[in-house]
Symmetry: C2
Subunit: 231 residues, 2 copies
């Protein structure tokens, strides 16, 4: 047995019955036609389900929209790459010479895909329970520190929900002005409540959407002074 | 026990330990705040993984792109609704009066969501293996008659792959003309191979994209006479 792969299996907390499966999972498409792309497809689906299940159990009161957003933060490419780095996955990947020279073993996408492929390989080798165990160990840190699902919503969404919950009309956004050169435009947008109980807030940003989010955030702060907490 | 739900459990091939989970899975959001949306989220993730795993095993040579397309055809809304109809799920759903009047129990989206929720409820009640068993029974017909993954690709994609595999340059599409009134436009498009070994083909359709697909299909037929088979 390769002492190198031994270290990886210890980090995963899983010992392969057939190490050719692990070797395949570590082979990027730049290195061989016998690469890890099929295993990545399998591991991606498995990880998505395991994280969905964990998030479901962790927040018995959260809506399916909140659960979806929470899962998305855990399985996004940067989060997968961070988990891959914790077990030093980059040291074990087999890349083609081009990717090696350009430092592909440090790239988020290659690390994330490799991690999913390893999860898929564990499933093939040891079955679903073994693969789930690996997923839960890999993401123990994130799963132990899950954010409140409500904080994942953007300000416009939170403002809309707060207003709906209190029976008030939805906010209206209007562009007050644009400035700056074409490549560095700045937008100024107002957020007003249609029932006229408020003077409105103003936001600025490099796009209309960003300016609206800032205006919504300021309206939220006005409606819910410090300590108000989320709905 | 409700003899009504008894019939559904027989059709699923699964007997619930706690039938309140089944009742929840059958409750559409139009009927109650205690509805099936969270269970739908869970069942969706589980079904996606189980189908991904089945398709992976069924086609050991297929690329991850082919596997993804194949899975997508199995878990799309119409396919889920068809499986729901086979077990008569519509008869068991609990809908609000508005949805009842408008025949919601026949709608694809409500049937598909309900089916996913039932799968999620089986997982909660009996664990992953029980839920996987239900998925495999529900989709036994589709999984037993899987199409060749290659036939799921559109003609432009297949033509591009064939040309790449044989080292020829990619095809070029050009609009030759448009005709017809604005609401019923017809496009004529040519498909030519840049190495000049071919006179090109022509396609027509109600959009540029459709016309291109027809031209690509004709080029495919020319390059691969009957019986040629797929790459």
């Amino acid at each position: 047995m390769n002492p190198h792969d031994e270290r990886l299996q210890a980090a995963l907390g899983y010992r392969f019955g057939d190490e050719r499966r692990l070797a395949r999972a570590l082979t990027h498409r730049s290195a061989s036609a016998d690469n890890n792309e099929r295993l990545e497809y399998l591991g991606d689906a498995l990880l998505n389900f395991v994280i969905a299940d964990s998030v479901f159990a962790a927040f018995p009161q959260a809506s399916e929209g909140d659960l979806s957003r929470l899962r998305a933060t855990l399985v996004r490419e940067e989060a997968l790459a961070a988990a891959a780095r914790r077990i030093g996955l980059g040291d074990f990947l087999r890349l083609g010479s081009g990717e090696l020279k350009s430092g592909g073993y440090r790239r988020d996408s290659i690390l994330a895909d490799g991690l999913e492929a390893v999860i898929g390989a564990v499933h093939l080798d040891g079955g679903f329970d073994a693969a789930r165990g690996v997923c839960l160990r890999l993401f123990a840190e994130e799963l132990g520190n899950l954010p409140d699902p409500l904080t994942l919503k953007d300000p416009k969404t939170r403002l809309q929900e707060l207003l709906q919950a209190t029976g008030r009309p939805l906010p209206e956004y209007a562009v007050l002005g644009e400035s700056g050169p074409p490549h560095r435009r700045s937008f100024t947008v107002s957020c007003r409540l249609a029932d006229g109980q408020d003077d409105g807030t103003v936001g600025e940003g490099g796009s209309r959407r960003l300016a609206e989010q800032q205006a919504a955030q300021r309206m939220l702060e006005r409606l819910r002074p410090a300590g108000g907490g989320d709905a």
